[in-house]
């Protein structure tokens, strides 16, 4: 029953998106090449949002922790890639693959040494403050090591290609493809692997999971690790078209929170669909609204969803 409900939501959202874009083409009074360009840009921007949201939704959904360090961890991953590229001269995309396990280890360590001690029956508010502290610690460590001067990671595949007459940056296309791969990988892990099964069980009911032999703290560490690894991939894929400063991750975090709540806490497909939708809404909206006006559409949409479906598009009905 749930699957058909999900099916309807995906179909509905898809229909709204397609109709919306069609309406812009027909009645928007804009040059059709310009519309195509904004749609392509929107899709690619959506890919970026998806990348940033995936780790957040996983940690949020399973541990119930709002990870305030998400942006700082994203910046950390970018600098990690920058460091590998600038010191060892390796391909940035190879550095992305290398940074994922490093970030996994970092996330695992943070959860098992710092936060697991604080997660008690009392609630999840104390780990939340730890993530805030962690965020300050990471940002300032990055500032200390790399300084505040903007850096950049050159992509070996810089340049652009034409898609239906629209111009698309190759690094952004790679990031989009990466977002879909990471989302797909997470879905497969959650659905098909024993660890994924245990993660979902812990998300549904931690006490019940421990009574069927699941080590809940280990699963917490695993989840934070997986979340950090997704952030690691995100940072690496964004680095070639982002100017690196220690606060580089912050610009994405607010929207990532919106996308995670919109898609449903803990839902990977929700983050995927929500991210792309928000990306499209923002760029297509910019055809009609000046400056930061499109954000008004995004947050308006967000409020609407909270009214109509507070559990988020893909959230479980609780």
């Amino acid at each position: 029953m749930l699957t058909t409900e999900r099916g309807r939501i995906v179909l509905g959202l898809f229909a709204i998106t397609v109709l919306g874009i069609a309406a812009v083409y027909l009645f928007g009074g804009k040059d059709s090449n310009l519309v195509t360009q904004t749609v392509v840009t929107g899709l690619l921007l959506g890919g970026v949002y998806v990348l940033v949201s995936l780790g957040l939704t996983l940690i949020f959904g399973v541990l119930g922790i709002v990870n305030f360090a998400q942006g700082a961890m994203l910046a950390m991953a970018m600098y990690l890639v920058y460091f590998m590229v600038s010191s060892a001269g390796i391909n940035p995309y190879l550095a992305v693959v290398l940074s994922a396990p490093i970030m996994f280890g970092f996330g695992w360590l943070v959860q098992s040494t710092l936060m697991n001690r604080l997660i008690t029956d009392v609630g999840h508010s104390r780990p939340l403050l730890v993530t805030l502290g962690l965020s300050l610690l990471i940002s300032n460590t990055l500032l200390m090591i790399f300084g505040g001067r903007p850096l950049n990671v050159p992509s070996p595949y810089a340049g652009s290609v034409q898609i239906l007459g629209a111009i698309a940056d190759v690094p952004r296309i790679i990031a989009f493809v990466g977002a879909v791969i990471v989302a797909g990988g997470l879905i497969v892990i959650l659905r098909k692997s024993p660890v994924g099964l245990a993660i979902r069980a812990v998300a549904a009911n931690g006490t019940g999971a421990s009574l069927v032999g699941v080590n809940v703290k280990r699963i917490y560490a695993m989840t934070f690790g997986l979340g950090a690894a997704s952030v690691g991939v995100a940072g690496g894929l964004l680095a070639p078209f982002t100017s690196l400063v220690p606060s580089a991750g912050d610009q994405f975090t607010t929207l990532a929170f919106v996308i995670v709540v919109l898609g449903g806490l803990g839902s990977v497909p929700g983050a995927l669909v929500g991210g792309i939708f928000i990306g499209l809404l923002q760029t297509v909206g910019s055809l009609f609204l000046p400056g930061s006006g499109p954000l008004l559409l995004v947050f308006g949409m967000f409020v609407l969803v909270l009214f109509l479906r507070p559990q988020g598009l893909f959230g479980a009905n609780k």
Binding site: P194, R200, A204, N205, A209, G213
Partner: protein, 238 residues
Amino acid sequence: MSLLVLDGLSKSFGGLAALGNVNLEIADREYLGIIGPNGAGKTTLLSVLAGQLRPTSGKIVFDGQDITGWSADRVASVGLVRTFQLMRPFESMTVLENVAIASHNKIRSIPKARDHAADVIDRVGLGTYKDAMSGTLPTAGLKRLELARALALEPRVLLLDEVLAGLVPTERAPIIDLLREIHQDGVTVLFVEHIMAAVLALSERLLVMHEGQQLALGVPADVIQDAAVVDAYLGEDY
């Protein structure tokens, strides 16, 4: 040789003693019924044994090993498994997935764990609901699921907390048969239950608890004749 030994087991919440000095030896393959009025400490006893609550004092020895203070998942994986009076399935997951999590304790391979889980589900009579979302099951189905999850851990001791509560008599009978079968297969059972007919039909020994204390212990037929038990639990007019 006792499989499970409780040595001076106590549990207090603040100043309130929910369990006071429980001493009990449970033999391998025994079926021990536990009765007592509400608040007698039956559920607390199961929670302490399952590792969810740490005892205030005393020791739990399982199969010669001191397991006092072990975490719930560790206790479950050595074979001391509890069920809940109020069922707590992983609602957003299918029945098969619910049980497969438990199967994965002993079995790493995914297809093998699924086969194992499917067998257990058939055994408790939920075969037709295998792929249903567990949140959609009716009460009787949830009780069976609760049992299936416990059985998939291949327990040596089952701690059953009112598995029959909330079921109508026609739903109880097959579960009672199932419990008898599980016991005959060599599982030791601690059976907390209010349905006296079931307690008397299944239990080899009967423990009566009252205000956290052991009030009586012995052959069920003798225990329910005991005047103190009748007063405390069954009512003076019984």
